[in-house]
Symmetry: C2
Subunit: 351 residues, 2 copies
């Protein structure tokens, strides 16, 4: 009746059945196979037929059944991001998701986030995906130097990309942040500000990035010859209260540290709280350099100098590289090291 009826999706109401290849083929008087191939733009099917079929499919709002496709082809069109909900997550997960989704836009891939729990081994969700082939590719983080997940996936030739590097000899896709440089620049900055006894809060020392961070930090220490301390009973993943207490106690001891490098946002806040409670003045008695992955620390007073890690971009890059991997490209090139961004001087300017 009306001039045009756009996207006449059949209403989802249970009366109209879900369109399938069969229903389309019957309504058009074609073989089911023909419809299938026409929708795939198979050149063996006449162009005219392809057009007609595609139009008809569009009109009834046909969408292929993913379970059936999976069963037949083994392909899921799903990419699984494994995320530890208790990770240092002020947006870690969200930013990564954001970037990944961005890069998956317009492709057939769906992003599927699998929660990973602290009390289950990290290998478990990977094992499950591998056994049940519930995804075509995997994304994960918290990479270790000899990460067993990487090993397992490489052995099975299963597409993946991880956030963080390994020390394995087989090349594999990854995106990492230059935590060596972070540690180095942060420590240098503290030295430059005249600090002579500084603390680094490490991450889990089993994680590669934590080692890079320490290495960068130590390099700067050695260059400058100042005193330092890396607590071994505390990390940026420790409960905030513990970090706060550490700083508080350290400040009230004799010979207190005059600088802190914090690898995470919560730990930065907690350090700040501890030092404030101990009536240390930031910028005068002590300085903090934090890592920032969200605009959160911008809202903190007193302002803190930070180094920025852009996780949304990391996520996007991971998506891009992963798709190249899925297309079978040479793995030795599918990696990227993100540079550090210092947010130092702007602070003085703003003041």
């Amino acid at each position: 009746m009306t001039a045009e009826r756009k996207t006449s999706k059949a209403p989802i109401n249970g009366i109209t059945k879900k369109p399938t290849l069969r229903s389309i083929s019957e309504s058009m008087g074609l073989a089911l196979t023909t419809v299938s191939r026409a929708l795939k733009n198979d050149p063996a099917i006449a162009q005219a037929t392809r057009d007609r079929v595609q139009e008809a499919a569009q009109a009834v709002g046909y969408m292929p059944d993913r379970a059936a496709q999976k069963l037949r082809t083994g392909k899921t069109n799903v990419i699984s991001l494994i995320l530890n909900p208790h990770e240092e997550i002020l947006g870690f997960g969200s930013s990564l998701i954001s970037g990944l989704t961005q890069s998956l836009r317009g492709t057939d891939y769906h992003l599927n986030v699998t929660p990973q729990f602290h009390d289950t081994p990290a290998i478990e969700p990977i094992n499950y995906i591998l056994r049940n082939k519930t995804a075509d590719a995997i994304v994960f983080s918290r990479t270790k130097p000899f990460d067993e997940r990487v090993r397992l996936l490489l052995e099975n030739d299963f597409p993946f990309i991880c956030h963080g590097r390994t020390e394995l000899s087989t090349p594999h896709p990854y995106v990492d942040y230059d935590n060596f440089d972070f540690g180095y620049q942060a420590a240098r900055r503290l030295v430059e500000k005249g600090r002579r006894n500084i603390v680094l809060f490490p991450a889990d020392s089993s994680l590669t990035f934590s080692q890079h961070l320490q290495h960068g930090f130590m390099t700067a220490i050695q260059e400058s010859g100042i005193a330092f301390r890396i607590p071994d009973d505390i990390s940026i993943y420790s409960p905030a209260d513990e970090i706060r207490n550490y700083c508080y106690n350290a400040a009230t001891n004799k010979n207190p540290p005059d600088g802190y490098v914090c690898g995470g946002e919560v730990s930065t806040l907690a350090s700040l709280a501890g030092l404030t409670d101990a009536e240390q003045e930031i910028g005068k008695d002590v300085d903090i350099i934090g890592k920032q992955t969200s605009p959160l620390l911008d809202q903190i007073r007193p302002k803190i100098e930070t180094i920025y890690e852009d996780l949304a971009t990391a996520g996007q890059m991971m998506g891009t590289l992963l798709q190249q991997r899925l297309r079978g490209e040479d793995m030795s090139k599918l990696n990227h090291l993100q540079e550090t961004t210092l947010i130092f001087d702007t602070i003085k300017q703003n003041k």
Copy 2:
């Protein structure tokens, strides 16, 4: 050879094929159907046979193919959580996921997180799940009084639970936080502290909880007769810089507000920053009452009085109620209103 070989999962190496009902049936000399039914503990199968089959399945590490099950039965065993990555998410998503996963432990259900984008309509992922039946049930948040997602799902009799209430007459499962009480208690507290001109940062006014929050706030205002302001060009989802500027400007005007109620963590931090920048002293010139969903605000100095919303528990409750819904229980009872937890006096005690 050895006394016992526990969980002899076949190694995932491509040589050993994935076990299926067929492979088990052949190796045991039983019909495929028998194996299927034995694994389902069908009483028509002899107990002895059931035991043997289950043991064998366990031994080879059989796991049913979910795609095949979905194709045959239509059941996915998946619960989809729709999450907006740009939501006020300092852990909102993570906490909810954490709770949901907890309540899904030991069931056959998998949690699947679908990212929802700001620039796509909220109904879209729901539509997709409905059309493709990619999940058995849906969880979502940011509920509106006449939420079209709720309507659509109710119409299709599709199981779901939402965080937040609607004003629809048909009962449906939900978990909500008592934001009326939050608004009320927060405003009362400010009055009690002698504040006489207070500001509420609302959430998106289209969301039900925002209306509850405002209603509670206004009730306290009317009871006490003090001056107030609810900005209409700014919300807790506004960029932190905007909130900070608002507070900064407000503080430097004549007749500045002496109290703030913030419905979110970022907005609390931003308010604090703006007021600090304007050299207002918290607790003396002005007070802030924030909502807290993570331990984050505990690390902020000066300390801020907050009201706590436990999202992990909310998630757990949602999982439980949703499973009751899936079992077909009466929807009019499947809801829960979380009480507010004031974190007020402890602060004085600590001081």
